[in-house]
Subunit: 188 residues, 2 copies
């Protein structure tokens, strides 16, 4: 096993066992090869894994719906509607729910557009193409402002996350190429 595998991040610091309340240790459990938060009292291993962020590129008559963030991180920057996937929903249901929450907009989720590994954040960002049948939207609680923008007016320098840029670039590039595929790769 390589050193880099042993040195994978442990995730958020955990001090106490969520099952029994005992103090946790950082050690390599039996049968494993990397460090984990483990409980010596009840033998629970507290794994932490990457989280899925699901979102979409909502399009109405060629224009794209963007939200200005009202919350940290990246407050005041522009983002595609997206957020943490919840238990009990599919990726596309999550993308539609986030769009309703952040932009008060009802979209029809279409095909997968991009999946972006955001290693520094321990996240994978997944974006779908989506139709916004009616131009009805408003700022949800997590948005300062929501706007339909033409491709030429996308605020490239004020986007919140690299994954937003990748999804928007892929959407426009694939639209002009007349060909759909799923971009997969890492965000720096």
């Amino acid at each position: 096993m390589t050193d880099s595998a042993r040195q994978r991040p442990l995730g958020r610091r955990q001090q106490f066992c969520s099952q029994c309340g005992h103090g946790l240790r950082v050690e390599i459990p039996a049968g494993d090869y990397q460090l984990r938060y483990t409980c010596n009292a009840c033998a629970t291993v507290h794994y932490e894994n990457p989280k899925l962020v699901v979102g979409c590129v909502p399009v109405h008559e060629g224009r794209i719906l963007l939200c200005k963030r009202a919350i940290e991180p990246r407050l005041g920057f522009w983002t595609l509607p997206a957020g943490f996937m919840e238990l009990g929903e599919s990726m596309s249901q999550g993308a539609a729910r986030e769009t309703l929450e952040e932009a008060c907009a009802e979209v029809v989720i279409e095909d997968l557009l991009a999946s972006v590994n955001v290693l520094s954040a321990g996240q994978v960002h997944v974006f779908f193409r989506a139709a916004l049948p009616e131009p009805l939207f408003a700022a949800g609680a997590e948005s300062l402002e929501v706007r339909l923008v033409a491709p030429k007016d996308i605020p490239w320098g004020e986007l919140a996350f690299t994954s937003n840029r990748i999804a928007l670039e892929q959407y426009l590039l694939q639209r002009s190429a007349g060909r759909h595929f799923v971009w997969t790769g890492n965000s720096i």
Copy 2:
């Protein structure tokens, strides 16, 4: 907000705060609309989100590498190499790592094949096409046996998970159609 949104699963039962050790409650935090494990002592909200399982369809000269599971769940059933994505790796790195761990095989990960929402397990299973350049493999610690099987010999009735069936069906269907795309949907 719909009742179904309020009734999303909370995930694994948590009794104590991992940050301060205080007993947890189940309540709707301020600004949220669904039940979460929350700590009234240090105000931490303990979110639980779906986990990513990453795997691949490793192919050598038209045959596919399958592993017979040595662990629960589904001990004794056949699976594509796959497992929980770890922090610090990309989805394709995770798929290659799992193949090395379960089948002692070094693969070259290719394009995305399928992403399957497994709602009942709170998981998303992502599979890639992969090349196995050399027919070198062996049972890893989590496998009883590893085998290269021709499409006609796939043990359809003894597959461990529905997502395995979907990935294998898509691999074969797309190979015979001479066309690659990413299947996205739910596993029953």
